[in-house]
Subunit: 211 residues, 2 copies
């Protein structure tokens, strides 16, 4: 099967030096790419900036901004059976970009932000993607209910929820403990390495029938 996986944060620049971003090591997405490739699938990984090595045999596109990731996903969807969007895409970006480094002004500054394009939300409605669609929800409260809301709004087949407020499984950690939310049931995976969690998710991904 052909997998498309997104990973890492995006960076939304104000000027050449400053940017807005999200905490994300990219580990979960890279582990998923490695696990899918290990199982013999074709894998394309589209990633924001991380310090991780691309797993052997995985095709790779490097992006920086949410817009670049949106464009890359849209352009590479042809023939994809399973899309797993793990990237921590920045929701907002500065409205204006300054080519020169902005000099310090007063004690206060107001930064105007606008929404970035919604990649997961565009998969069905804009890109017409018919394959298996898996989203991620990194939350600090009510993880399962936010994950279910995301599943329904974005027409996913599965949403993986995790509680990033817990320091043992949060950002940058090597372990994770997740809840898999499906349209008709929920499954809890015990705390484990991101590599083992990835293997479980890839197994599920290959047997789900897209709606």
């Amino acid at each position: 099967m052909r997998f498309l996986i997104t990973a890492g944060p995006t960076r939304e620049p104000l000027d050449p030096a400053r940017y807005l971003t999200n905490r994300s090591s990219g580990r979960m997405g890279y582990a998923l790419a490695g696990a899918a490739r290990h199982d013999g699938h074709d894998v394309l990984l589209i990633s924001g900036p991380t310090t991780l090595d691309v797993p052997p045999g995985v095709d790779f596109i490097q992006v920086e901004t949410a817009q670049q990731m949106y464009d890359a996903v849209r352009d590479m969807l042809d023939g994809v059976d399973v899309a797993i969007l793990t990237a921590a895409v920045a929701d907002y970006r500065p409205v204006a970009y300054s080519e020169q480094k902005i000099k310090k002004q007063g004690e206060r500054m107001v930064l105007e932000l606008e929404r970035t394009p919604d990649i997961l939300g565009s998969m069905r409605s804009v890109f017409g993607f018919k394959g298996t669609l898996i989203g991620f929800a990194a939350e600090t409260q009510d993880v399962e209910s936010y994950a279910r809301g995301k599943l329904e709004r974005k027409q996913c087949d599965m949403v993986v929820g995790n509680d990033v407020s817990r320091s043992d499984i949060g950002f940058d950690s090597r372990e994770n403990e997740v809840v898999l939310v499906f349209p008709d049931h929920v499954e809890y995976l015990e705390k484990d390495t991101k590599e083992h969690i990835a293997m479980h998710i890839i197994e599920h991904a290959t047997i789900i029938r897209p709606k």
Copy 2:
């Protein structure tokens, strides 16, 4: 001699997931710490988040925000002969921090920012530092004149200016080409590895007499 060196970016969080930061690999500061240690000096490196290894024999304090870096520098200045502040400290931070991940609202959002404490500018006037003070100026235009302005305003003995708009020597690159601005003269260093540039700067640092 005793050196205090700052390096890396700082991160200024809006909520547990999102933050504002500056591009900075930390390489120049880590190279300076390694070069100073190699020359037999006592070195304390105070660094924001980077992926670099701390040079052997260098004391290390990890920080995240500009405020934490400010506090660490102030608390560790006792007995320091030379302070080299290379960190790309964020100038502004969000006024409000949300303990819970902020949910997406409308198409636009306004982020209110306030100035972070000015570490370099506090060295003489607030901390009463009497040793040799070296600052860095990463600029995208008029590098030498901005560096000279910084030297004067912040009462430095030397400011190292570099042009980060050039992709060959800018953020994340392994080489640099800098101008050393002193109160009474200027010196241009040719493009070289950050390690070689660091050796030159450390040599200068040990012979400058603080004003």
